[in-house]
Each structure stands twice: as structure tokens, then as C-alpha cells.
């Protein structure tokens, strides 16, 4: 009798052991303090948050502990989705702007935040990137990023160059540097499609498609990618080709930064999030805005909502998490944040100062410019093929295979027409 049951008993005991081990890893909050987790993709900022931002919150809110829980940006969407689907998501979640987040709202990942007091600190434009279909806010806006052209001031002085204010002057500057031959005019490669789109087309393009006019026109269907304004923007992008370094097809985003920080290239198209990296080698550098099309013309600048923070609908610590969100919406937080994380800009209505000089220069580019987010990310990327990924690939074919601006915009519009029904 005993001998027959023994193996069975062993199996049962093992199974119980395994399930107990699983349980013990669960909740372990002590009575007094509540620990909330903050899931996000800013692995680079872990030290800044953990040493500066979170301690400031914990000091003013005793009894709440915040754990910073970053995931690499490329894996972030996948990680959050699988965590939430399996019920193990963090209490507060960093929100991607526009379409990805809209899908997350539709899937019920977030709680509605219209009851949050600090939401009043933001304009509707700032909140728009994280709105649900009902028009309510679902994430507290944390930061936006800008994009422009970094330039090496020493090289500009050496060659006697002025900061270009029109596209013609820009081309002339590039040509002068190329003809001189000592430096590369533009640190830009086509290996990474995303940055051709975000840092180049969405930077110089708004001057052609007139910022929000063109962007919202595409969304409500009154404008097409094949309109002359958009074709001209893609043409301006294609016109940069002669000024790229040799072997640009394989040059990655990281390679560009190296070319620029080693002083080999005069100009680099990049976002404000890289101010720390770009000034790491002590280079003399500054930034200029994407030049206007014509002298005295209206200038447009890309300001992209980058990070919001929302409340996990399945969170077990909602009271504490809500307090954290209230604080993230306050000016107190914004002052600490923009000071400690240079290159990211506050989206609140109250002005804050930037101690990093390069960040301040970026902020200065906003003066007299009309602001607009990236063209592709609002609604136009919610179906297949998404305009976003499609643009990356098309821009690569412009540089690598010599596809014309007309053919490129034509393909994008055709693909968009295959699924997109204008909202207007």
C-alpha cells in the first residue's frame, strides 16, 4: 500500500512546494508604508529619478515609497502589454503619446484622470496626446521633447559660417563645409529609419506643410501626402543626400553621435533628449532651429509630447498612486524634473527655468515658432500599415535607392488610403 502511494505523494508534495514558492513572492507591504511601482522606458534617467525626483516626493509624502521600474524603450510596449494582460503591471505606467496609448486606453489599461486636481495645470493641447476617445485625460503630461540641429561652433567659426535662417542658407552652409573638405557637413546615416523620420523629416518638414495646418489636414482628410507642400518637404529631405558621409547606409544613430562629438562633423540633426550625450565630450556646441523656407517666413518647430504617466486600472494601491500622480502634475515636480533631466521640457502652463545652457538654447528656439508634434503618430498610425513605420522605410528608400519625393509621398498616401478613414 505504502509503496504504491509513495511516488504519487512525491508528485503532490512537489506540486504544493512549487505553488507555495509562487505565492510567497507576492505582496510583502508592511503595515505603514505603501510601495508603488512606476513602470517606464527611461532606463537612461534611472539615477536622476532615484536620486533626485523620487526622494523629493517621498520627503513630502511620508508613508509612500516609489520604485522606479524601467524597461528598455524597444521592449517597453511589449513588456507593459504582457504585464497588464497577466495582471502584474506596475501601479503607475508611463504613457506613449497618441495611437499606442489610445489603444491602451481602449483596452482598459488606465483609469480616467479627469478627477485629478493637477490636470488643471495643463492646456488641452498638452493633454491631447493622452486623450481617450471620450476626450478625457488618461495620463498626466510629464515632458515634451524638441528637435533641431546641433552644430559645432568651433567649426562654424573656423569656416566663418553663420547660423542659417532659410533653407537656401542651410544648403549653402552644407555646401561650404563639403567644399572645404576638412569636416563632414552632416552627421547623418540611414541605418536607423526612425530617426530619419523624427529628427529630420519631422524637423524640416513642418516649415513646408505649415505645422498643424498640414498635420491636422491629413487627419481630417482635407490634405493629402501628395499635395505640393508635402512633396516639397520630402524633396527638401532628399536634397540633403549629397551632404551625407560615405557609407551612410550603414551609419547608425550611435555612429552619428560619435562623428559629431569627436568633432568630425559640423552639424547633427537630433532631438533635445541628447543634450547630455552631445555635450559629454566638452565640445563647443549650440543648436539652431530648422530654418524657414523663405526669408522672413513663419518658422515651425517640432515639439513632441513624449512622456505622460497614467494609473493602472488594476492597481491595488490606487490611493497612493493617485497622490503620486497629483504630485507629478504639480509645478514642484516640473521644477525638479527639467532641472535634473536636461533636454526634456515641461508641458505645464507655469514657466520654469532651465539651468542647462544647451537645454535653455533649445527652449529659446520655441520663441516666434509655431509648435507641432510629429506628423505620423496621431491617428495615422493606428492601422496597418502605420504611417509611422511606413515613413521610416520610405525615407530609407529615398536616400538608399534614389526614390523620388513624388513616388515616396504617393506610396505613403496610397497605403494610408487603404485603411484610414478621415476623422473629420
Amino acid at each position: 500500500m505504502r509503496s504504491k502511494l509513495a511516488p504519487f505523494a512525491a508528485v503532490v508534495v512537489t506540486a504544493i512546494g512549487i505553488s507555495l514558492a509562487g505565492c510567497s513572492a507576492g505582496s510583502s507591504d508592511s503595515g505603514d508604508t505603501v510601495t508603488i511601482t512606476f513602470g517606464n522606458w527611461r532606463t537612461e534617467d534611472a539615477a536622476l529619478w532615484e536620486e533626485n525626483v523620487i526622494p523629493a516626493f517621498e520627503e513630502s509624502h511620508p508613508g509612500i515609497k516609489v520604485v522606479y521600474q524601467p524597461t528598455d524603450t524597444n521592449d517597453y510596449n511589449a513588456a507593459i502589454q504582457s504585464q497588464i494582460e497577466s495582471g502584474t503591471g506596475p501601479d503607475v505606467i508611463m504613457c506613449r503619446p497618441f495611437d499606442v496609448n489610445r489603444a491602451w486606453i481602449t483596452d482598459g489599461y488606465f483609469d480616467n484622470l479627469k478627477g485629478l486636481t493637477s490636470i488643471a495645470n495643463f492646456t488641452p493641447t498638452a493633454l491631447a496626446a493622452w486623450q481617450g476617445a471620450d476626450g478625457d485625460p488618461y495620463c498626466v503630461p510629464i515632458a515634451s521633447v524638441l528637435a533641431g540641429f546641433y552644430y559645432n561652433t568651433a567649426i562654424f567659426d573656423e569656416l566663418g559660417l553663420e547660423v542659417p535662417t532659410t533653407m537656401d542658407e542651410f544648403t549653402a552652409v552644407l555646401k561650404t563645409i563639403k567644399d572645404d573638405g576638412k569636416y563632414l557637413p552632416l552627421a547623418l546615416g540611414s541605418a536607423d529609419g526612425w530617426q530619419l523620420s523624427y529628427n529630420v523629416l519631422d524637423s524640416i518638414g513642418p516649415n513646408y506643410w505649415k505645422g498643424e495646418d498640414g498635420r491636422l489636414g491629413l487627419i481630417d482628410g482635407t490634405k493629402k501626402m501628395t499635395d505640393p507642400d508635402f512633396v516639397a518637404a520630402f524633396q527638401a529631405f532628399a536634397d540633403l543626400k549629397p551632404y551625407l558621409p560615405e557609407g551612410y547606409q550603414s551609419i547608425t544613430y550611435e555612429d552619428q553621435m560619435q562623428l559629431f562629438t569627436l568633432g568630425k562633423a559640423a552639424i547633427m540633426a537630433d532631438g533635445s533628449w541628447d543634450v547630455t550625450a552631445a555635450s559629454a565630450t566638452g565640445l563647443e556646441l549650440s543648436v539652431f532651429a530648422p530654418p524657414a523656407v523663405e526669408s522672413g517666413g513663419q518658422r515651425y518647430l517640432q515639439e513632441m509630447p513624449d512622456q505622460g504617466v497614467g494609473l493602472n486600472a488594476e492597481s491595488k494601491n490606487k490611493a497612493a498612486a493617485t497622490e503620486f500622480l497629483e504630485w507629478l502634475g504639480s509645478t514642484d515636480f516640473q521644477k525638479i524634473y527639467v532641472d535634473k533631466v536636461p533636454g526634456f521640457f515641461s508641458m505645464g502652463t507655469e514657466p520654469v527655468e532651465y539651468t542647462n545652457p544647451l537645454a535653455q538654447k533649445f527652449a529659446d528656439l520655441k520663441v516666434d515658432a509655431l509648435l507641432t508634434p510629429r506628423l505620423q503618430l496621431d491617428r495615422l498610425s493606428a492601422g496597418s500599415p502605420p504611417l509611422d513605420d511606413n515613413t521610416w522605410a520610405v525615407l530609407q528608400t529615398i536616400l538608399n535607392d534614389g526614390v523620388s519625393a513624388e513616388d515616396a509621398t504617393n506610396k505613403l498616401q496610397t497605403d494610408l488610403d487603404s485603411w484610414y478613414v478621415p476623422a473629420g
Partner: protein, 295 residues
């Protein structure tokens, strides 16, 4: 003595733990993934059974099918390069290792040649990316940036990494050949070259079938080296997109692409069937015809 019935019951009991784990973590997810591919769960009214519509969409929709056929062709190319380059080089290495020319340092070479297979894919990709970087690497030509050379380049990186695997397979088969057979052939007047092709090669022939089918399974399940080098929307213009990255991008979404679970499950099922059918065909048709010799 235990009766036959009790014996089988005991056997079943001992198999049970492994079976439970296998069913829970392998069979069940596989089946539920195939089931998911017959549903549309993104709609407003919850999950609806739509039969084969996802498959029709994948094969016929102008944009989606373009990506799919492109990825399938790229996967086939990825497999072809592995088979045509990795296996002959593995054979050459195994033959050299078992030849008498390098008898003394055999262990050193065997270890050195196998080391890349133990490295992380991320490290292999990164090191090779630096070696062929057009700015400071050994070639000026943008190997990874040109649509024509990008996939062969990545395939060869992977071949470099995994060439040790067929080498070890063939090496163990070669050293398993009894010395008296080789000695007999030498007495009959066979030289090294003849001995290799007439005696050793036929004896290790069944190994090639196994290596080919394993390479097929690995490459059609391939994902990591492409993802490590080019991310989830592998450029230039999807020239290095294989089935694994297409699945990842569709199922999990990429920076600008919203995840589509059903279509992702459909792609996963298609990959599964592609591998299943060929592997089954191999075992039914080919494996039993390969001659094995009693040694």
C-alpha cells in the same frame, strides 16, 4: 513481480511530472495560439470567431501579404545561406580535426571553433557591426545598409557564430568510425582523399539529414540576431525582415505600430505549420531511406 497493468500505471505516474510541465508550458500555449488565430478580438464587441479570415488577410491583403511574403522569402534565404555555407565549412573543420595533421592541438582547435556558439547573440552582432562599420571598420562598403547585402551579411554573422554546431555533430560521427575499417581501407591502398570520400563520408551521411532539418527549424524560428542588429522593423526597407521579426512586430507592436494579437497568432501558427510540415515530411520520406551501416 508487478503485473503488466500496474506496470503501465506506474510508468504513467513517473512520466506525469514531465508531461504536466510539457503540456502546461508547451502544448497548451501552442494550441491556444492556434485557436487565437481563428478569432477577431480587437473589435468593439469582444472576441468573435472568424474562421480563416486572419489567414486570408495575411496571404491576400496588399500591404500585410507584401510584408509576409517578403519575410518568408527572407527566411528562406536565411536558411539557404546557413545550409550552403555552414554545413560545408563544418564538414571541412570536422574533417581537419579528425585528420592526423593536427593531432596534437586538436582539443585547442575544437574549443576555439566552438566558442562563438556559446557567445551571446547580442555580443556577436555588436562585434561584427563594429568590424564592418564604414567609418572605422575594415570595409568602406555599407554592408548592413545596402538592401542587397544586408541579409547575407547578417546570415554570415550567424553562420560564423553557429558553425561549431554542425562541426561537433560531424566530428563525433567521424570519431565514432572504428579504426579497423579505416585500417582495412589503408591496407587496400586507399589514400587520405579516397578514404574520406569513399569510407568516412558515406558513414556520416545520415548526420547531414539531421543537421539540415535542425538548421531549417532554427532558421525559420530565427529572430534574435536580426532583432539585435536591426530592431523590430529591420531595414533597410524591410530587407532583413524575417518571419520571427514580422511576428514580433505584429504581436507586440513596435514604436509606431499598435499590437495585433490575432494577426500575430496567425503568423506564429503559419511559422509552426511551415516547420511542422517540412519536418514531418523529412522524417516520413527521407530519414528512413538514409542508409545506416552497422559498424
Amino acid at each position: 513481480m508487478i503485473r503488466a497493468g500496474a506496470r503501465y500505471r506506474l510508468l504513467a505516474l513517473f512520466v506525469l511530472p514531465a508531461l504536466v510541465v510539457y503540456v502546461a508550458f508547451s502544448v497548451y500555449p501552442l494550441i491556444s495560439s492556434v485557436v487565437l488565430s481563428f478569432f477577431d478580438s480587437d473589435g468593439p464587441s469582444g472576441s468573435i470567431f472568424i474562421g480563416l479570415d486572419n489567414y486570408v488577410h495575411l496571404f491576400v491583403d496588399p500591404y500585410t501579404s507584401e510584408r509576409f511574403w517578403n519575410a518568408l522569402l527572407n527566411s528562406a534565404e536565411f536558411f539557404g545561406i546557413h545550409l550552403l555555407v555552414e554545413v560545408p565549412i563544418g564538414l571541412l573543420m570536422a574533417a581537419l580535426l579528425t585528420s592526423n595533421t593536427i593531432r596534437r592541438s586538436r582539443g585547442v582547435y575544437r574549443t576555439l571553433l566552438f566558442i562563438p556558439a556559446t557567445l551571446s547573440v547580442v555580443i556577436v552582432g555588436f562585434v561584427w557591426r563594429l568590424i564592418i562599420n564604414p567609418l572605422f571598420g575594415v570595409v568602406k562598403f555599407p554592408l548592413l545598409g545596402d538592401a542587397a547585402t544586408a541579409l547575407p551579411t547578417i546570415s554570415l554573422m550567424s553562420v560564423w557564430q553557429y558553425v561549431g554546431i554542425p562541426m561537433i555533430f560531424l566530428y563525433t560521427a567521424l570519431i565514432a568510425i572504428p579504426d579497423d575499417i579505416l585500417e582495412a581501407s589503408r591496407i587496400d591502398g586507399a589514400r587520405a582523399w579516397q578514404q574520406f570520400w569513399r569510407i568516412k563520408f558515406p558513414l556520416i551521411l545520415p548526420q547531414f539529414g539531421l543537421i539540415a532539418i535542425l538548421t531549417y527549424i532554427w532558421t525559420f524560428n530565427g529572430f534574435d540576431i536580426v532583432y539585435a542588429l536591426n530592431g523590430s522593423a529591420p531595414g533597410p526597407n524591410y530587407a532583413t525582415d524575417i518571419l520571427g521579426t514580422l511576428f514580433y512586430r505584429t504581436f507586440f507592436g513596435s514604436s509606431g505600430q499598435v499590437a495585433d494579437l490575432d494577426l500575430g497568432a496567425t503568423i506564429a501558427s503559419v511559422i509552426f505549420f511551415i516547420i511542422l510540415i517540412v519536418t514531418a515530411a523529412y522524417f516520413v520520406v527521407l530519414q528512413r531511406r538514409l542508409k545506416t551501416y552497422e559498424l
